[in-house]
Symmetry: C2
Subunit: 350 residues, 2 copies
């Protein structure tokens, strides 16, 4: 991502590069506010947590759902905003924490569920990059992801900032300090050093028409976010599957030479992906493994990830090479990553 | 689907045709058992409902989630089985109803979460087509979807049977009789009469390499199930998006002539899909609308659905033409719909 000032994709490149600084800033300056909000929530002893988001923010919400289930031990669910915006339901939300995640805080199909959740008795929290936004104002509590202005349409730094804030929030709710995240800014910076290798990978996909991206557990949201980045920036039809779902049917579309990216950082996920990678090898798929060095997979090619303190924080790092891949591939295809076709920054669905 | 005995896809065709009888049978003979199970659950006053399923059964679980939120007024969430099977979490599930949905009742990645949910204090219910299966035995309560043996690998009659049983269960929990479903068997039979029209539609997709399927609300699960059927049977890369998510990025992949199927039965969904259909028209997409007669859309082509008592039961009918399309398209492509590549009936993921 050289000399961004003179090239298409200047904003997205700058925002990808900003991530170590944004994440470091959250660790240094937002942790106290996160712990304070967690204390307010904890005092009200929520029994269930509902999360809502759209697009990239939905992937951050999904990551938070995994963290809540595994590290906080509370049941959690992703809200279907349409049950409120289309069908006007009024569930009983006493003892429920309702978390709305949105970069802009302006999507009407989150504001209405947030207002409704508050009327229905939920503790409401907005996690946005826009403290004065309608979503932030609709919620009782607010956390800012403090990523600064995001000018590219494809969200990058606001996504990793959301992941970091949600990780620290869940850890604070569980009365832990979130030390697993301490090295994340440095690890993200290490991945940014792989720019040349990733640019080279992108060339291979110049004429690909579709791709499957798979992972599991904490990194299933990474697979979905990577697929969205590739679709947004380079019009590649990218399909994300959890490795378990892939075996339940979609495996039938994989034929010899079909491009697949498997996201397999160190940890349980890499064991769980073994069966899928074996089958992909038998089918002759063109597989790229984004994962820990020294893993046991026979992937055709691999992009290594740094060694991380714990699998639970790996999504904050694992998405970086895929953001970079999407950026390079868009440019290979003659698309300006900052100006994908037919998209605008705030999506006004209801 | 003529003379199935002599053609590839004999089982899937027979099972598609059996659906009016299967659904009628549930209405006549399973309603009492469903109300009895609902009474047992209702007496324990669950506050939150968690659902788990994989593949087709995950789509049935998603439909149930919408029903629970809109018609029962309880918060609901889809379980991520990997949080239990990979990461071994033990959430506090007091006051929680945990519903596992599975055709075979044999998938290990549902049995383990079901056992764990029971240990964690949940009221547990298995909804299967196999009363003696390990999943049915692992749960405290069981409902049989009574669809009879399913021999095709692509699930059809067990899916609509799951939808019907889950609809009647939610209505019983809400102290209603589920009268909206009374005409469903006849309406499904009407759709089966459209076989010639659907066979003709299938020809058009002979060389399609990918397709986007979109809907919203109650029929978002229909879009996902339709995509899975097309992938399973005819190796067409089919991508399902809620119409709201489609506007958040993936719209960038739609170009002139790109095939899109929009599922828009009468009701709120058809209003919500208006904006997407407008944009698809501007982009010059090749759009097929599966929907109510006399809708307001300028879709390129349409497959009408019968007039239904209520949008909330429309998914049981709206999937039928898409099952038929998948069957015909597989045969157009020289694939036996009963024997898709690389798939087996019970998927043993963990």
């Amino acid at each position: 991502m050289d000399d961004p000032r003179s090239t298409p994709g200047v904003h997205m490149a700058a925002e990808i590069r900003e991530q170590p600084r944004v994440l470091e800033n959250i660790l240094r300056h937002e942790s106290r506010e996160i712990r304070s909000v967690a204390a307010t929530i904890g005092a009200r002893k929520p029994r269930f947590i509902l999360l809502a988001g759209r697009g990239t923010s939905d992937h951050a919400a999904l990551y938070a759902k995994y963290l809540i289930e595994t590290r906080l031990g509370l049941p959690a669910g992703l809200v279907s905003p349409s049950t409120i915006t289309l069908y006007g339901s009024s569930p009983d939300l006493t003892d429920v924490l309702f978390v709305g995640v949105s970069q802009s805080g302006s999507s009407p199909d989150l504001i209405e569920p947030m207002e409704q959740a508050r009327r229905c008795g939920a503790i409401t929290l907005a996690v946005t990059n826009a403290p004065r936004s309608p979503l932030a104002q609709a919620a009782e509590l607010h956390l800012c992801v403090a990523a600064g202005d995001e000018r590219a349409i494809a969200a990058t730094k606001t996504y990793t900032a959301q992941l970091m804030v949600l990780f620290l929030l869940v850890e604070a709710l569980a009365n832990r300090m979130g030390d697993e995240a301490a090295q994340i800014p440095d690890e993200v910076a290490q991945v940014l050093e792989m720019d040349g290798v990733i640019a080279h990978e992108a060339v291979r996909y110049r004429f690909a028409e579709q791709i499957v991206i798979t992972s599991r557990g904490y990194n299933y949201p990474t697979a979905r976010e990577a697929a969205l980045k590739l679709m947004e920036t380079s019009s590649l039809i990218a399909h994300a599957f959890s490795s378990a779902d892939l075996l339940h049917g979609p495996m039938a579309v994989i034929e010899k030479g079909f491009p697949v990216i498997a996201i397999a950082p160190e940890g349980r996920v890499s064991i769980a992906l073994g069966l899928v990678l074996e089958q992909l090898e038998v089918l002759g798929a063109d597989t790229l493994v984004v994962g820990a060095p020294g893993g046991q997979f026979q992937g055709t090619r691999r992009l290594p990830l740094p060694h991380l303190a714990d699998e639970c924080v790996s999504p904050i790092v694992a998405i970086i090479p895929l953001q970079m891949l999407a950026w390079h591939l868009a440019r290979e295809r003659g698309v300006d990553p900052d100006e994908p076709r037919g998209l605008s920054k705030i999506t006004k669905t209801r």
